[in-house]
């Protein structure tokens, strides 16, 4: 396989830098700084130290025996990103970008957040590194994820509710970019997913690849061979690309990204960018996205705030087009059932995002054989979702 992205940030025809000229110099500086520091062993050591001593890596690759037995014959492993400090994989990237910001001499960081996990991770790292932090969050999401808003404030961050557009993740991203344009001289934008203009998709992937690197080592130790299948949820796609990337050259390893089908991909209420989207430019890069025939972006819908996004990272679009990875939809209801199943079989409450990945493996169920080894990326823990699960369950009962 060829190395992606190329020097213009293209993954095949996807990616690139579709941003106002005002941001170009900042993006080029960021890319240069990232390349310079990544070549410096001290930079990686500093990140590794925090990942280990602060976030608690490496995270376990746990053999979910009862879930496996429940579903059939295959062996199902869970990569426990939920056991990270702050409860999700988002901290891997926040630590990486936070250290980079500090090396670049920036004193302020900003972030966008949907479910609040990336906002919490960024607020955490900002506190740790003594930086000022502003988090942009759609007003709708500040209601859905009130607990995370409070968490960010406790950590010393300022949470700015975004009232434009659909008041969710995409609008938070727009507003963070707008703020960055105005404050580019002293502010570092900690982007939370493998989306946006180059170099973000590449940089976020590289900060998240530790998920796949560890998994590769751990599964070889546990099974003496590579897995047959990797499954991960895809909103913007950072946990999935982090899991997939180190296995890219291993053709025997299949990869499935699971996107949110909301109330169903044949209804207007979904976030199934790969199943229903078309190519277009959104938030700085060319990728698949949900849009109407006039090129206006359509609002996404998912029970999971972290997957409620009308775009997807450009590298995923590339992997879909070259058929290296497959992308499938899972509905709100299927994700909830899978969440409950994991609770009672393994005593683990997964994040609603991660529950989408589990739900797809539940669907595969009997088609898997006893020789199959499957790894699911359990990207986050579900504590943050308990309230919305209650609301959804009660709502369903009242219908």
């Amino acid at each position: 396989m060829i190395q992606v992205p190329d020097k213009d940030g293209r993954f095949g025809s996807f990616g690139g830098r579709f941003v106002p000229e005002t941001l170009m110099t900042a993006l080029i500086e960021l890319e240069e700084a990232y390349r310079e520091f990544s070549a410096d062993p001290a930079f990686q050591e500093e990140i590794d130290y925090l990942l280990k001593q602060y976030s608690g890596r490496e995270t376990p690759l746990y053999y979910a025996e009862r879930l496996s037995k429940h579903l059939g014959d295959a062996k199902i492993y869970l990569k426990r990103e939920d056991l990270n400090h702050t409860g999700a994989h988002k901290i891997n990237n926040a630590i990486g970008q936070g250290i980079l910001a500090k090396k670049m001499g920036k004193t302020k960081v900003i972030a966008e957040t949907g479910a609040g996990q990336h906002g919490v991770a960024t607020a955490t790292v900002a506190a740790l590194l003594g930086m000022e932090c502003k988090v942009f969050m759609g007003e709708e999401d500040t209601r859905r994820q009130a607990l995370n808003v409070f968490r960010m404030k406790l950590l010393g961050a300022e949470v700015i509710p975004v009232t434009s557009g659909s008041r969710t993740l995409k609008d938070a991203g727009n507003e963070a970019l707008r703020y960055w344009v105005s404050n580019v001289e002293d502010t570092f934008y900690v982007l939370g997913s493998a989306v946006g203009p180059h170099p973000y998709p590449m940089m976020v992937r590289n900060f998240q690849r530790i998920i796949g690197d560890e998994t590769r080592r751990q599964i070889l130790e546990a099974e003496g061979r590579l897995p047959d299948l990797l499954v991960a949820a895809v909103g913007g796609g950072s946990n999935a690309i982090g899991m997939f990337y180190p296995f890219m050259e291993d053709e025997q390893v299949a990869m499935i990204g699971v996107e949110a089908a909301g109330k169903g991909i044949d209804t207007p209420f979904h976030a199934a960018t790969m199943s229903k989207g078309t190519r277009g430019v959104f938030q700085g890069s060319l990728s698949y996205l949900l849009q109407d025939e006039h090129g206006q972006i359509i609002e996404a819908h998912s029970i999971s705030a972290g997957l409620d996004y009308p775009g997807v990272g450009p590298e995923h679009s590339y992997l879909k087009d070259i058929h290296r990875a497959q992308y499938v939809p899972v509905t709100d209801a299927e994700a909830l059932d899978a969440l409950k199943l994991l609770c009672v079989t393994e005593g683990i409450i997964p994040a609603l995002e991660s529950a989408h990945a589990i739900a797809h493996v539940v669907k595969l169920g009997k088609t898997l054989t006893k020789d199959d080894v499957v790894v699911i990326c359990l990207s986050g823990r579900g504590d943050k979702d308990v309230e919305s699960i209650m609301a959804y369950t009660e709502g369903a009962q009242n219908q």
């Binding site: 941003v19 106002p20 000229e21 005002t22 434009s164």
Partner: protein, 273 residues
């Protein structure tokens, strides 16, 4: 090339040069609050002394725009105004007698979804002289530049105070004018411009023989005069869109509509340097 000499924008800049004055370039969100009003506002702007006009295409995710133009975009989108409607509005304005060169201001995605073949084939027939695509930096614009050249339409490049060594590359091979972004940030009125603004404009002047215009954040007659002394054109956007927003209640009622339009005309007339 004959296609270039007949471009209405180029002819206007030539004429203004002989008159020794800078172009006043108002920006308008098409379809805010509705298409019929847009046509009326265009004729008011012309009567107020506008020299050319930026027609803003409403977009769901206008990254380069501040709150005023965001709100105007939302209003226009609610009336189902899209790229094609905006082009049709330009043609209608021409048929109604407007002599102004029209510059289409659109984000890239609507253009991409229309398809570049369809888009470029339609531009000339719809009286469009120039294009501004704020999210298409020089690195991504090669095909658009070639197609614009072939179509005789000016793809206006934007340069920012932070562009420094990028300026030469951005302006090379450009046509129409060079758009200098007055300050870091999104569109919207502001009292202070980037501290190095004069040096920035001077450095752009040294890099190109094209006319240069300045925009982003210019909202008063005083600011227009300041920049008219050192530029060939001054763009006023959010301040006019805000004025439109203010008079929407007047525009909505038949008995107050002309008073509302007059307010817009007077606002733009006093901007003229």
């Amino acid at each position: 090339m004959t296609t270039e000499t007949t471009n209405r924008m180029d002819l206007t800049f030539q004429k203004l040069k002989t008159e020794g004055r800078a172009a006043l370039i108002p920006f308008l969100t098409v379809g805010d609050p509705d298409l019929e009003t847009t046509l009326d506002i265009i004729s008011e702007l012309e009567a107020a002394g506008a020299d050319m006009l930026e027609l803003g295409v409403p977009y769901s995710d206008p990254l380069a725009d501040g709150p005023v133009i965001q709100r105007a975009s939302s209003r226009a989108l609610r009336s189902n105004v899209h790229l094609r409607t905006c082009m049709e509005t330009a043609l209608k304005a021409r048929q109604a007698g407007s002599e102004l060169p029209f510059i289409l201001f659109t984000y890239y995605n609507p253009v991409m979804q229309m398809g570049l073949d369809t888009f470029f084939a339609a531009l000339d027939a719809h009286e469009i002289s120039g294009l501004i695509i704020p999210d298409l930096p020089v690195e991504e614009s090669e095909e658009m530049r070639e197609r614009s050249r072939a179509a005789g339409v000016n793809l206006i490049p934007l340069v920012a105070p932070t562009s420094s060594e990028r300026i030469a590359r951005i302006v090379s091979g450009a046509s129409g004018f060079v758009y200098c972004v007055s300050s870091l940030g999104v569109t919207g009125e502001r009292s202070a411009f980037h501290s190095g603004i004069d040096e920035f404009i001077a450095s752009v002047r040294r890099s190109t023989d094209l006319p240069i215009a300045v925009g982003f954040g210019i909202s008063t007659g005083e600011q227009v005069s300041r920049f008219a002394k050192i530029c060939d054109g001054v763009v006023v956007g959010s301040a006019i869109v805000r004025k439109v927003e203010e008079v929407i209640p007047l525009l909505a009622e038949p008995q107050t509509r002309s008073a509302g339009l007059l307010q817009i005309r007077e606002f733009v007339a006093q901007l003229r340097p």
